[in-house]
């Protein structure tokens, strides 16, 4: 097993020298820079990742909290996402327990949001007369955030590269006005742009560093920890403490720190899931607990800003 993993780890680096071509496609990091440039030109604040473990960019307070209320809000940022159960010990070319989302939130949703989005694909070099771009129904729901929206998963040649959502509710509150959210799967887009089969073979920059060199070992070790090593007693304990601390913050009417505790509780719950110690029956109860924390934080945020539901 250890041998196999080591080989998988070595494979991408052996190829990295050959990946350089005359007409070089966008590297992973240049793709991000292009998106930053594009959305900056279209009026978005370019924010940085939130410094906490979370399962999706939607958890970033710049999305969850800022989506609420009447104020206009346009922002774009990269958010690292952690989904412990998706770990594959670095052996699956497409599944990772840690990956990046590029998140754009526009409130109110502009009338030409689809065209803006397609413009961003063009900016990173996707030709819609060469690649089949499709908007396929996908109603989005986050039970842990008490949020839902309608929209699509955007397909590029059959691969879901973006989640495109018109938020209708967040934290149990109706959106007034509705925000549009774009969530790009950066690794998947890069696979297309660079025409690679494995995420580990992606060129991270133009100087020969691959995604595998940066992250493969991380996937191997984190998968092992997520699935096998993480101390479950400690995790259960952490969950309880984050819940208590969130409630402590809510009592003090501090929505932002309360929400951060909700994010932490959510991630600990995900880790417990990966360790397989939460039964199906308990699962609902845990998710309900996290949802209460997130909703409570949103409520406190609305209250603090003086917004009516």
């Amino acid at each position: 097993m250890a041998e196999a993993k080591r080989c998988a780890w070595l494979t991408p680096s052996r190829h990295c020298g050959k990946a350089r071509r005359v007409t070089q496609p966008l590297s992973f990091q240049n793709m991000i820079l292009r998106l930053h440039d594009y959305w900056s030109r279209h009026g978005c604040l370019i924010l940085q990742p939130h410094d906490m473990e979370m399962g999706a960019g939607t958890f970033h307070p710049a999305t969850t909290l800022r989506a609420l209320g009447p104020d206009s809000w346009n922002a774009a940022f990269v958010q690292p996402c952690r989904r412990p159960t998706d770990g594959r010990y670095g052996e699956n070319p497409n599944r990772l327990q840690h990956y990046y989302q590029y998140q754009v939130i526009l409130k109110p949703s502009p009338p030409d949001l689809q065209e803006l989005y397609l413009g961003s694909l063009a900016a990173i070099g996707i030709d819609p007369l060469l690649h089949d771009i499709r908007f396929v129904e996908d109603d989005w729901e986050s039970p842990t955030l008490g949020a839902w929206g309608l929209g699509w998963e955007v397909w590029c040649d059959g691969m879901e590269v973006t989640q495109f959502t018109y938020f209708q509710q967040m934290g149990g509150f109706d959106m007034k006005p509705v925000a549009g959210e774009l969530t790009y799967g950066l690794e998947r887009l890069a696979l297309y742009i660079q025409n690679k089969d494995s995420v580990y073979d992606l060129a991270f920059n133009d100087a020969g560093v691959t995604y595998g060199q940066v992250f493969h070992e991380n996937e191997v070790e984190m998968s092992t920890w997520n699935f096998e090593i993480a101390d479950t007693d400690s995790l259960f304990d952490q969950f309880r403490k984050h819940v208590a601390e969130c409630e402590n913050c809510l009592a003090a009417k501090l929505p932002i720190p309360a929400y951060e505790q909700a994010i932490k509780a959510s991630h600990v719950f995900n880790l417990l899931q990966a360790r397989g110690v939460i039964s199906v029956a308990e699962r609902q109860a845990y998710m309900g607990r996290v949802r209460d924390l997130a909703k409570g934080s949103c409520q406190a945020w609305m209250d603090r800003n003086g917004w009516a539901a």
Partner: protein
């Protein structure tokens, strides 16, 4: 006459909603027109991902002028009443018309321009549109009252003849402009009228007609497969879905790594279909080929090479994930997986899935040990050997067991062996619920367990039972016939039914959250197909023992379960053309827990009622029953309600082996009261000939019918009843029941009561309609 074109353009409409949306658009439009007294000669609707279109042909340019008359007060009414009426109608006294002393207001309404009607209709239709899920969007959504549509509405084309019908909805103003294909022709197109709409869009890479897109995909996919020397696996659902996902469909065939064919074909097909909306292909031998057909929405500049490559990559990623699950699952013995079922709650009051499995295993064993499910045909009614695919009813010779070629060891499979196999299969049947593959594709439950069991060296019969034990899942699904599968499938469904009935969770109205109706239909299908005989009470008691002591105290659902099965039997038999009232008529006798026997009786009854004798006997019965009812004559043999004569006799052990030569004691106990007992009282008068003839006929018909029923010869029982027909007719023709003499009256009523009782031994004719 003029044509009208309406196009409602929006961001991508979900494929599954488009057909319904076309219907709703036509319905709403027709209703709006009807309000103005307009009818189109033809309504055509189209849907693409980005537009919902209606063309109404043959509309007049104006609505007809109408004259409306409103009734007012009497001419002699007080002035206040008249004033009120004038105010309401806006007329003066002189303008009213008087007729027969009553005043009428006659208002002539001139015709309206149809364009005006349409201008009002369009916003009304949009606002009332019943999307299954609608949303708000944009700057207007600061209030909850903003327009809701399936996805943001982008434009309205409304042309009556060549003229725009001016209207506005949520800031969107109608016009003649639309757009073509999102990528091939993103610019504005101006539509002239309803006649050039389809062709102008076609020129801009939009095939408006969904049926045409469907056709293009069907043909293109079939041809692409043929060109590759393969045969497309047809899939109507995929055709419709892909037609709903494209405005300019281009089917493209790609290949995937043949190494993935190690994964079960069902998994590949499901992955391709559900996740990617691809068709799959078969090779010349009928095996799944390493090819897929995707449907692109563009005429790609490179002929589709990049699209095929991209889709291949996605499918490869999906299949490698599936292969990961499959390989990982294969390494874990099902027995070990089964132990994890105690983590899955089946129902909060019914414990975990592990608890359910334990009950099912015991019940499956019981079904075999009782001889209810046997490795060869257990009963006399059907005959033939069990196990094969030939329905048992078709086999003719009951006494010579025909060897089943598909299972050589059939003959030597003892009851004990069969019981062990059934229990083993039952204990493993839910284990795949905790496997990675079923976690990813819940619809593969059973099937994956079957694959894993076979790969892990379980008996083939056990693997097949795991695979098929959910069957039948609906009308038309395969009904298991292999005895091991039958035992597990039946036990699983009986457990579900018994358990939910025991905790009083019964279906009500349209609510059946635990799919108990389907489970009951499954039980009936298996029973009738394999001619299994057992009684419900015995099975319920066996379930109670399997469930443990604590369950026995609440096992009160038996009576409900009986009626539930009778109801389901009606549903099942309706398909086969069996009248529900005849099932009621037999079921009303009560105490019949053997559904196979019940059904045999119903069939005989239906055949009999169809004859002249049957119809006349029914008429005679009804006449007798009416007289008895009118005279308040208490039935001498009250019909049992549910619990009944004979039902209490314990059944079970002997049932399956019972033959016509050995009438069951419980049937004998349902014999009519002996003639000496009543009815043939020594009369105080000389009976009229028809009266005596009927008594004599009853004397012979009663024991004949009873004997026939005891022997399960229901046709014979009907024949015995048929002998009563002529005497009854004769009786009603020449005998007056309501005689002045109390003695005569009482005796004749008693005679009619005997008729009723005799008939009730066969079926409760009062339940029969007509």
């Amino acid at each position: 006459m003029t044509d009208f074109l309406l196009e409602l353009r929006s961001e991508e409409i979900p494929a599954r909603m488009q057909d319904r949306a076309r219907e709703d658009l036509a319905k709403l439009f027709a209703a709006e027109l009807a309000k103005a007294g307009l009818v189109a000669s033809e309504l055509v609707t189209y849907a693409t991902p980005r537009r919902l279109t209606l063309i109404a042909r043959g509309l007049p340019t104006e609505t007809a002028a109408v004259s409306e008359e409103t009734k007012g007060p009497k001419a002699s009414a007080p002035p206040q009443a008249l004033e009120g009426f004038l105010r309401k109608t806006g007329l003066t006294r002189e303008q009213l018309v008087e007729r027969d002393g009553v005043l009428f207001a006659v208002i002539d309404k001139p015709g309206r321009a149809t364009a005006h009607v349409l201008a009002e209709a369009i916003p009304a239709i949009i606002r009332a549109f019943p999307w299954p899920k609608a949303m708000r969007w944009g700057a207007a959504s600061t209030t909850m009252e903003s327009l809701r549509w399936v996805r943001p509405l982008q434009g309205i084309v409304a042309l009556f003849g060549d003229d725009v019908v001016p209207c506005e909805v949520a800031g969107i103003v109608s016009g003649a402009a639309t757009v073509g294909h999102r990528f091939h022709h993103p610019g504005i197109i101006t539509i002239g009228n309803a006649d050039d709409y389809v062709e102008k869009l076609r020129a801009c890479h939009v095939i408006v007609d969904q049926a045409e897109r469907r056709q293009i995909i069907a043909l293109g996919a079939t041809m692409a497969a043929r060109k590759a020397g393969l045969e497309l696996v047809q899939d109507e659902g995929l055709l419709t879905e892909n037609a709903g996902l494209t405005e300019f469909p281009v089917p493209l065939l790609g290949r995937f790594d043949a190494a993935f064919l190690d994964v079960p074909p069902e998994v590949i097909q499901l992955t391709a279909r559900v996740n990617q909306k691809y068709f799959v292909c078969r090779d010349a031998d009928g095996a799944l080929a390493n090819a897929f057909v995707c449907t692109a929405n563009i005429d790609a500049s490179d002929g589709g090479a990049a699209i095929i490559e991209g889709n291949r990559k996605v499918l490869a990623a999906r299949l490698s994930d599936a292969k990961f699950f499959y390989d990982t699952d294969l390494k874990v013995p099902l027995e070990e997986q089964a132990r994890k079922l105690d983590r899955i709650v089946f129902h909060e009051k019914l414990g975990t899935v592990a608890d359910k499995v334990d009950r099912v295993a015991k019940l499956a064993r019981w079904l075999v040990e009782e001889g209810i499910v046997a490795s060869s045909a257990p009963l006399p009614l059907a005959g033939g050997a069990g196990g094969g695919h030939v329905p048992l009813a078709n086999a003719s010779d009951a006494d010579s067991p025909s060897p089943n070629p598909s299972r050589e060891r059939e003959g030597e499979l003892s009851r004990a062996d069969l019981a062990s196999l059934a229990e083993r299969a039952a204990r493993l049947c839910k284990a795949d619920l905790v496997t990675g593959m079923v976690g990813e594709f819940p619809e593969l439950q059973g099937l994956m367990g079957g694959y894993y069991a076979a790969a892990q060296g379980e008996d083939p019969a056990v693997a097949a039972a795991i695979r098929d034990h959910y069957k039948p899942v609906g009308q038309g699904d395969d009904v298991p016939t292999d005895p091991v599968t039958v035992a597990v499938s039946l036990a699983d469904k009986l457990d579900t039914l018994a358990a939910f009935f025991a905790i009083d969770e019964r279906p009500t109205g349209s609510k059946d959250p635990f799919a108990l109706r389907r489970a009951a239909l499954g039980v009936l299908a298996i029973q009738t197909s394999s001619h299994l005989r057992y009684d419900i009470q015995a099975a319920y008691e066996a379930w109670g023992r399997a469930a443990g002591k604590e369950w026995l105290s609440i096992a009160t659902g038996l009576e409900h379960l009986r009626y539930f099965f009778a109801d389901r039997l009606k549903v099942q038999q309706r398909e086969a053309g069996v009248r529900h009232d005849l099932i009621d008529a037999v079921f009303a006798l009560g105490g019949e827990d053997d559904l196979v026997r019940l059904l045999a009786r119903v069939h005989a009854l239906q055949a009999f009622i169809g004859t002249a004798d049957g119809a006349n006997l029914l008429a005679g019965y009804k006449r007798a029953a009416n007289i008895l009812k009118k005279e308040g004559f208490a039935p001498s043999s009250p019909l049992p309600s549910g619990e009944g004569q004979g039902a209490s006799a314990p059944r079970g052990e002997g049932d399956a082996q019972r033959t016509p030569d050995h009438p069951h004691p419980s049937d004998a106990s349902r014999l009519p009261p002996s003639p000496e007992g009543r009815g043939d009282l020594s009369l105080s008068y000389t009976p009229e000939p028809a009266e005596a003839a009927l008594a004599n006929a009853l004397d012979s018909a009663e024991p004949a019918a009873a004997a026939a029923i005891g022997a399960e010869d229901f046709a014979g029982a009907m024949a015995a009843l048929a002998t009563l027909r002529a005497p009854i007719d004769q009786f009603f023709e020449s005998v007056i029941v309501n005689d002045a003499h109390d003695d005569k009256r009482a005796a004749r009523l008693a005679l009619l009561d005997r008729v009723r009782a005799a008939v009730h031994n066969v079926a409760d004719f009062s339940k029969i309609e007509g």
